[in-house]
Amino acid sequence: MNETVKSSILKVITPGDKILVVLILALGIISLIALNHVRQPGESVIIEVNGQVVQQLDLNTSQEVTVNGSIGKIVIKIDQGTARVIHSDCPEKICVKTGKIHRVGEMIVCVPNKVVVKINGKRNNQFDVITQ
């Protein structure tokens, strides 16, 4: 983008635009924080390997589960309404670093192992349409 175009854009942008951007940014961040607070804690944990559900566990029962992923074992610990991956045979351990999850819709993904751990509510809320 050359200089004249840049300066003409800067000339067009009004103070009102800037205020609008700040307001919308604030609205987005505030609603993000507010919704995170009201978001329900989950009821169950679903463990998927390669897109197939292999286990569905109660989030309120403390236990450790070992699942065979694509390249090795992955250990999931459920404790006091939260779930986390405590060990995985994958190289980068991103799943372990993700930490604890407990709200509906949150998930831990281990890409090399093709394992997805996600929190579900009382009912499935899978979307059934894609917007065009």
């Binding site: 009004t14 635009d17 987005g28 993000l32 509510g121 917007t131």
Partner: protein
């Protein structure tokens, strides 16, 4: 010929809607532009199903700024109708979402341009349109399809992504209008 065009543009409150040849051609070009962008957009892969730049609104914005509110509504309605027909989604939920979001966003953008064009430039109008488009769609999804309040957890992400996509659409429209230069851009 030129006088006729200027007259028909400067008096949008005429009871009788006059469609001059030049207006018809410009409307058709804008509809075609919107359609191409609409179809192009539906073929590019998206990381998330709802994350879409809304490039088709470039045509709407140009219509609002260079022609008027009525023309913009015509452009968006025909674009959605023909676009959905071509994609095979006519009258299904996705069509209702495109239609509802598109028309509401166009109305808000056109009214903002009409009454607050001193306060907001094309960038502000575009961002406002993107936010309205996304939130309307979210509301429609909740009412028509999902019936679950949890869908609004997406709202913050949509609002924040609208800022970005709205700016991109505003920028592209701005550059295009400068290139076309049929009418100078009002601030």
């Amino acid at each position: 010929m030129e006088n006729e065009t200027i007259n028909s543009m400067s008096s949008p409150n005429n009871k009788k809607y006059s469609l001059s040849n030049s207006k018809l051609v410009r409307l058709s070009l804008l509809i075609a532009l919107g359609l191409i962008l609409f179809l192009f957009e539906s073929f590019i892969p998206r990381p998330l199903p709802w994350l879409k730049p809304g490039l088709a609104h470039i045509a709407t914005l140009i219509a609002i700024i260079m022609m008027g509110m009525r023309e913009a509504i015509i452009v968006v309605v025909i674009r959605v109708l023909v676009g959905s027909l071509l994609l095979g989604s006519l009258f299904n939920p996705a069509f209702v979402l495109s239609f509802g979001g598109g028309v509401t966003a166009t109305l808000v953008m056109a009214l903002t341009h009409r009454y607050f064009s001193r306060t907001f430039s094309i960038f502000g109008i575009s961002i406002l349109g993107a936010v309205v488009h996304n939130l309307t769609q979210l509301l429609l999804v909740q009412i028509l399809i999902v019936h679950r309040i949890e869908i609004f957890y997406l709202a913050p992400f949509m609002i924040l992504s609208s800022l970005f996509t709205g700016f991109i659409v505003g920028l592209l429209s701005f550059l295009l209008i400068q290139k076309i230069q049929l009418v100078s851009i009002p601030r």
